[in-house]
Point group: C2
DNA sequence: TCTATATGTTTCAACTTCGAAGCAAGTGAG
DNA sequence: CTCACTTGCTTCGAAGTTGAAACATATAGA
């Protein structure tokens, strides 16, 4: 009498202990890192992690991006971005204006204040990441981690997008 | 005339390109994975990732945990857990009752329906993780990833906790 | 050109998350 | 025992996040 094997998930190859361990450790580490970093950003610059990401991304990119480019870069919903952009604009950290290329697009531009704020919080942020993430890693580990995660990211990006889930599928024509 | 070096962050050693790449790839990969997995769980079992984590954690652990144990395991605020537990209880997936050990504690127990649901969505979940995370990795990569992230997690856990930030520090006696 | 559809963004309502405050039960010192 | 403090959880209000719907502009095809 062989009761249901806990590792038997109905024909799908279950994750072996090594995979499980890697998966859990990965998710939890990032979650912890996110929490820590968020706290620091909040106390040092009154910014959420998302807001920091948006500003940092703009500070690169020559200071200008469309809403969609920003949302995609941060893996974020478009409506959520509209909200955050509103806050950042009210705080004087960014500016929103029409694009000359495409009348529909909103061009987001980082202001001098925005850049200054990024410059102000970046050192602490870097220190955090260094302390939390890189301290326990050797140069070799770092090399591997970067290589592995880059491959994983590219692989996932190749999958269908998600920030703007493909528009409502056109109602199938056979109705 | 040495203008401000972009890598000069005010005395703090900036992250070199390799570190930056690893950091960004890590955060984005997990973010993407989270999004994908969340979608699948929602369509297959009408569960959020958090809810799935809670049920899965309970399904291990002999089916019973206190609220605090659950919150700590999932890196979640206590009040948020109360909310989710309410939903899961309403859905008949868990049960809440007093603990005999400690009258204050609430003992959360997974129901048969809860177990059944976990069993139902787990294969798909595993398939997702396998497809998104492990597919592009060699056995060697997997080994490294698990090793690295385990070390990182343990390192972070050694830092002060976060699920229940230390209670309001008792007002220092010299006031 | 006219029309259908695609794309960029915002609005809106529902849901989720968080922290602070509140309540109840445990614990230790006197 | 009693007081002060700790710990486990919930309640409450404010803020953040999301998907669907609404708009507006673009684009392609007839």
């Amino acid at each position: 009498m062989t009761g249901p094997d806990p590792a038997d998930t109905g024909g799908v190859q279950a994750l072996d202990p090594q995979e499980l361990g890697a998966y859990f450790a990965l998710m939890e580490s990032v979650s912890l890192l996110h929490h820590h970093v968020e706290q620091h950003l909040r106390t040092e610059g009154n910014l959420s992690y998302v807001q920091f990401q948006l500003l940092a991304r703009l500070a690169g990119s020559d200071g200008q991006l469309t809403m969609t480019q920003l949302a995609d870069g941060v893996v974020y919903s478009r409506s959520g971005l509209t909200y955050q952009a509103g806050l950042l604009e009210k705080a004087g950290l960014i500016t929103r204006g029409p694009s000359s290329d495409d009348e529909r697009a909103t061009l987001v531009t980082i202001t001098d204040n925005g850049r200054a704020l990024v410059d102000r919080v970046l050192p602490g942020h870097v220190q955090d990441v260094r302390r939390l993430l890189f301290d326990p890693l050797s140069d070799d580990d770092l090399q591997h981690l970067g290589d592995i995660m880059t491959r994983v990211r590219d692989h996932m990006r190749a999958q269908p997008p998600r920030s703007a889930a493909p528009r409502k599928r056109r109602p199938s024509p056979n109705s």
